[in-house]
Symmetry: C2
Subunit: 233 residues, 2 copies
Amino acid sequence: MTTHFEATSRTRLRRRPARGAYDEASVFAILDAGLIAHVGYAEGGAPRVIATAYWREGRTLYWHGAAGSQALRAQAGGIPVCVTVSHLDGLVLGRSGFAHSVLYRSVMAFGNTHEIESREGKRRAMDAFLERLYPGRTREIRPVHDAELDMIAVIALPIDEASAKVRGGGVNEKEEDLAGPGWAGVIPVETRLCAVRTDERVAGVALAASVGAYAEGAGLGAVLAKNARTHPA
Amino acid sequence: MTTHFEATSRTRLRRRPARGAYDEASVFAILDAGLIAHVGYAEGGAPRVIATAYWREGRTLYWHGAAGSQALRAQAGGIPVCVTVSHLDGLVLGRSGFAHSVLYRSVMAFGNTHEIESREGKRRAMDAFLERLYPGRTREIRPVHDAELDMIAVIALPIDEASAKVRGGGVNEKEEDLAGPGWAGVIPVETRLCAVRTDERVAGVALAASVGAYAEGAGLGAVLAKNARTHPA
């Protein structure tokens, strides 16, 4: 079994090949640090991009929504999609406008969707999603009802092609600009967890063990990545 | 001049209309709090989604990149795109799996792209982008070189249709589940600025005034939104 995605005409980075990676470890690390994907597909011949929560199992991505959703109805039939996940890591200011940039990690994944149609398939998928986010959560709450499963659609995307693209580092500047005026550097950014807001109707119920890793000030990506490692879907 | 986008068959929210908005203020507030958009388009008949930094001027979105970029070459010719900007605001845990959700703000914008071809047009656009991000920045650094303008492509998207979708609030749960076991509540998340990393080659140069608003711990969205209000592009 290969641990690389084959670099294809649509995934191979042409301009800055050093920023690209096609190995599973690089691609999965970026996917596993994320919660929201942007799914592009055609509807009535026109492009459409929906933001959706997703999760990964092996080389397959999943997302779900209301069974009646126009987007999910389109995807359920099996259509080509491009799923892009991106993390903004910082702003770069150079001594020239040209050297201003952003730091990021991103993945583009291509494939054809299909729907998980059976109740048992949907139940397994949704439980896996909950456990992937909040390890142990399915044992803290009641089982999902059949009627609830009937209200959702679960879409699977076996990844056919994927690439990762990462811009790290600092200011990339031409030698001749180094003497120029103005501050230069990086402003890192991170998506962090804030203090939990307990629902007032469960006052007195202890914070769930499954939520323990989501500590105030922790990086969301780090928590998601760790849970993916310790409790893969 | 209308201050609403017309709700069309592809922007009107059908399932949860209360979450949708079509007025400029709602759409622009979400766009102005963001830096990275996901641009969906067709390339060779297949969907493709690129993550890119963007900015807004009135009802037009802009982004740029290397002139030789395959994506920008495709968009320069004038093609239909869907630009989606999303902000993740929190994780919602309910007492049922079904009530688990996320808090978000998002915008979908549709239109046809065109390229800003002239050097003067590109210079103006890129300066506006810098000023929109870092008010006063263009006066802190040297002017952009013609050769640099020739190396980039600038894409404009006059927005034809747009809608905002916002999921705020807390746990939406069925009455019958309120007595269930398990903690319930919201884990808010926010993209925050970290301490700046000054480029070691400008040691001794004071932090630029244009960067002053990017204080450690501030929310990136709040800083971007404020700069858009006080220094619109």
